[in-house]
Symmetry: C2
Subunit: 203 residues, 2 copies
């Protein structure tokens, strides 16, 4: 009966398109919204619509923004010489939450993946290279994710940006802070060993 | 930066009000909706609004419906002599999915809970009793959940409905089908023993 209501079925299907939401969770969310006071459910719908309508991509860094350019690109206190390249807005968001990075960002909105037809053109790498030259960045930090595609993209960007004579760095991969060695997977341990640094005073 | 965008913060807060959705999941859903094509995000918003606007409570059984009365109440093939009382629309939905119940439903939209100020008036028990009398039900199955409040509500309804001279039954509680004894909790095992039935041929 419930799923025979077309309006409800449409809502359930809309929720199922969210990442990690299956049929059961979608039904639970929908039942909740249908038993809320109508004003609360409409507030939910309106919040989604307003956000999607007001949020665009910053023309400079391609991060999500409600101003042009975005708050970070136009903040005079940011370090204009350092650029951090991330796969998605979530990556920039995570770094901002950490609060330790003061440079600018560039969001690729994806990674190189030839099988899915994602090449340098789809990620608009030419825009990134032009920006690096025109804005005189002195260091570009590649912070793509530690996946196969993320590493390939990092290697590709290192070559293209290095050709411009700009210093390219990669964020460190290793054992997470607070994490015991016994919980880290083999690949992470290998990265942690490879990326070891000297801590004794060097003579 | 991301959470400094008021429209995004509003959307995240709207998602956090869904059952079982925390800050991290809400951010993930919102980022997904913000990077979708705009039409898809607006479809999501519209599906929620349309559903909430078109779905009401059936005046007879108080289940969710887009018609008056609902499809089950108006279905001539249903058994009009049997009524199943559930706490929430999700309960009726679960029974309908099972496909073994052919009677009608009554949704309480809650359980008796004096500490939260939920009494017989808040659950409109008088409407339920009137319906049982006027529609000549011969059996009322109480299918409130197997929680303390659900059991109290079941006992209360059994007394009130029994006073009308109508047969009142309770769904069985015991070890789930396919579940081993070793996975059932003590309370479930006690219920399973209490509710045992004779399977040998009785002379």
């Amino acid at each position: 009966m419930f799923s025979q209501l077309p309006a409800v079925e449409r809502m359930i299907n809309a929720f199922r398109r969210l990442p990690g939401v299956g049929r059961k969770s979608a039904e639970r969310y929908c039942l909740h919204l249908l038993t809320l006071p109508e004003a609360d459910a409409l507030e939910f719908s309106d919040a989604v619509r307003k956000a999607r309508e007001s949020i665009t991509w910053c023309p400079q860094c391609r991060n999500l923004t409600d101003t042009t350019p975005c708050a970070i690109c136009s903040d005079p206190r940011r370090d204009k010489g350092t650029l951090c390249v991330v796969e998605r807005p979530a990556g920039a968001m995570a770094l901002e939450k950490g609060g330790n990075y003061r440079g600018l960002y560039h969001v690729l909105h994806g990674v190189l993946n030839p099988l899915d037809g994602i090449g340098p053109d789809e990620l608009h790498i030419d825009l990134l290279l032009k920006r690096i030259v025109s804005d005189n960045f002195t260091e570009v930090i590649i912070a793509t994710n530690a996946t196969a595609e993320g590493e390939v993209t990092a290697a590709y960007l290192a070559r293209r940006i290095g050709d411009l004579g700009v210093r390219v760095t990669r964020i460190a991969h290793g054992v997470p802070m607070g994490g015991g060695l016994e919980y880290a997977d083999d690949l992470t341990l290998a990265q942690a060993l490879d990326g070891r640094s000297v801590i004794s005073r060097e003579r």
